[in-house]
Subunit: 335 residues, 2 copies
């Protein structure tokens, strides 16, 4: 699948279409080169994992932020360090996908079988570790410890978000603010770091770095909300991964939280029974009727508006406009 | 348990006893401080994991190497960077323990329940990720990218060793040289890096760094062979962790490899039947009779002699003698 597949609609509309296409190819090359091993058994796994790559959202945002921060519109303004950092972000993301699939006991990812379903959980755990390790190793090769500190801090936060979510499994009392805290950490922290570091590597001011960091954070939260909505109402053949996981694994996500918030008395007892019986079809019917899915979509839309507003301090440019369109695409996607 | 518990015999005999005790306390403090989170759910897990600490073998070797490299015998010669790097090595090791327990489906570690048995595999996977991430974050705070590169390369290697071992599960044809390759990567690489980096941080010459790296590699291989022997013949109440895992998980380790090497014809078919039936008691009886356990111990002893010889280029000192004694302790331990 072409890396721009899900981003394509925004790309087609935007005059800056494909502006970082060459840089992204270089990112892919750096990525592939880092994951070469002298062991055939390891190389085979690495090749399988490459199929997980699809959206390249994080590298794309890092590169576009690197341009937007200074108002440049030509990818030749991007340095080798931008591209290496972009590859690091994708490798971290890939590691989380491999471990997420273990956590979710998922069988399908990007239309292919997951590592855990093919080779067992042990190999998936170790392969994820290898990807994390390679991400940090690649990051170190840039030779700027501030990047290692930033990515290290980001992955600490990411894991804390996952651990917080795990500690609240089967908790029907999880509220919206805790959900947003989880999502900020487990998803938005990395997206935000990409946008901020893209600007930092372009030598942008603190104000611009912060603006892009906020843009990334809001976009990341909206992205996760959309993912959680799709887990309920997506079409598995379109999304390309196992759906309905959150309910099965006892994870309360935004649509469900908003639905339960409005259920009181016997209707709440009734709702909890449906949840405990893991009857996804009935639950979605009820959430639709109560407007909880639409309400979750509205929260995501507000986040995207906040993301767009955050870019206000940036100099006007086609890339800035593209970033604003891209944010909207994140919640319009059906996969 | 006191961190020197298993090292105590060497310590008592050595005049340099306790020479890095103060530095190790600082290492523990750095370790604890790094693993503080603003989330109570995460802190609770961090406190549980601290109980996994026991031998502190890797930090101890890093610190002693830092002294032995220059012939110093006073721990005041160790820098803050030595202690931070030592804490990084222990954190990486701890992460591998948490993920190993998932891989081995182990219930007990250092006489306590494992994270996976208490909180499930998902939490154990994510907690291990958090520890790896924190190790790299802490390493970045030292501000010397060469350390990040070295530790990153080491953890790449470590994961490759585990992946190679996983790819050869249930393989009764695994030979001694592949076994040693696995062990070099999954265990010895980190021990070797500790010794080499200890010397590097003391400003030692390439030759001395290399000598200590070789000492660490041989010691690490012997350590793993001893671990694998104990998995067959150890006393669970002494070792403090679930034993017999390797046979159950289809991992061929040195005693078994040496036993199978000498079985031919119908006796080989017979031996494979015993292995496939997972009858550990019968297998150990046969391996003892065939002298395979003693043969594995002899391989480990040769490694230790090579480790001791590797220290030849170092200036004579009490710490050098202590390192040589410590290596022997690694294979004399019963836990």
């Amino acid at each position: 699948m072409h890396p721009f597949a899900i981003l394509a609609p925004a790309w087609r509309r935007a005059p800056a279409a494909g502006i970082v296409a060459g840089a992204l190819q270089e990112v892919e090359e750096i990525f592939r080169r880092q994951l070469r091993s002298d062991l055939p058994a390891v190389n085979e796994l690495a090749r399988h994992v490459e199929r997980y790559r699809g959206k390249m959202l994080r590298p794309t945002l890092l590169l576009l932020s690197g341009l937007a921060a200074t108002g440049r519109e030509d990818e030749s303004a991007l340095t080798r360090n931008h591209k290496m950092a972009a590859a690091v972000s994708e490798m971290i993301h890939m590691a989380t996908l491999v471990h997420d699939d273990v956590l979710d006991e998922a069988d399908t990812r990007r239309r292919g079988a997951t590592i855990n379903s093919l080779r067992g959980n042990e190999t998936a755990v170790m392969l994820g570790d290898w990807l994390i390790s390679n991400a940090f190793h690649l990051c170190s090769l840039i030779g700027d410890t501030s990047l290692n500190v930033a990515f290290g801090h980001t992955t600490n936060t990411l894991c804390e978000g996952e651990l917080l979510q795990l500690s609240r499994r089967e908790d029907v009392c999880l509220d919206e603010s805790t959900y947003l805290e989880i999502v900020k950490r487990k998803t938005a922290a990395l997206v935000s770091a990409c946008c901020q570091l893209g600007a930092q590597l372009s030598g942008a001011s603190e104000e611009i770095q912060k603006a892009l960091g906020m843009y990334g954070q809001h976009t990341g939260v909206a992205f996760q909300i959309q993912d959680d909505i799709l887990d309920f109402i997506g079409d598995q053949s379109v999304v390309g991964k196992t759906l309905g996981c959150d309910l099965l694994k006892g994870k309360a996500t935004l649509p469900l939280i908003l639905y339960l918030r409005d259920c009181v008395g016997s209707s709440r007892v009734d709702a909890i029974n449906v949840i405990e019986s893991r009857d996804g079809i009935e639950l979605v019917r009820r959430m639709n009727k109560a407007g909880s899915i639409t309400a979750a979509q509205a929260v995501a839309e507000n986040m995207i508006r906040a993301a767009q507003d955050a870019l206000e301090p940036l100099p006007p440019s086609q890339v800035k406009t593209l970033l604003q369109e891209l944010a909207m695409e994140v919640i319009r996607r059906d996969r």
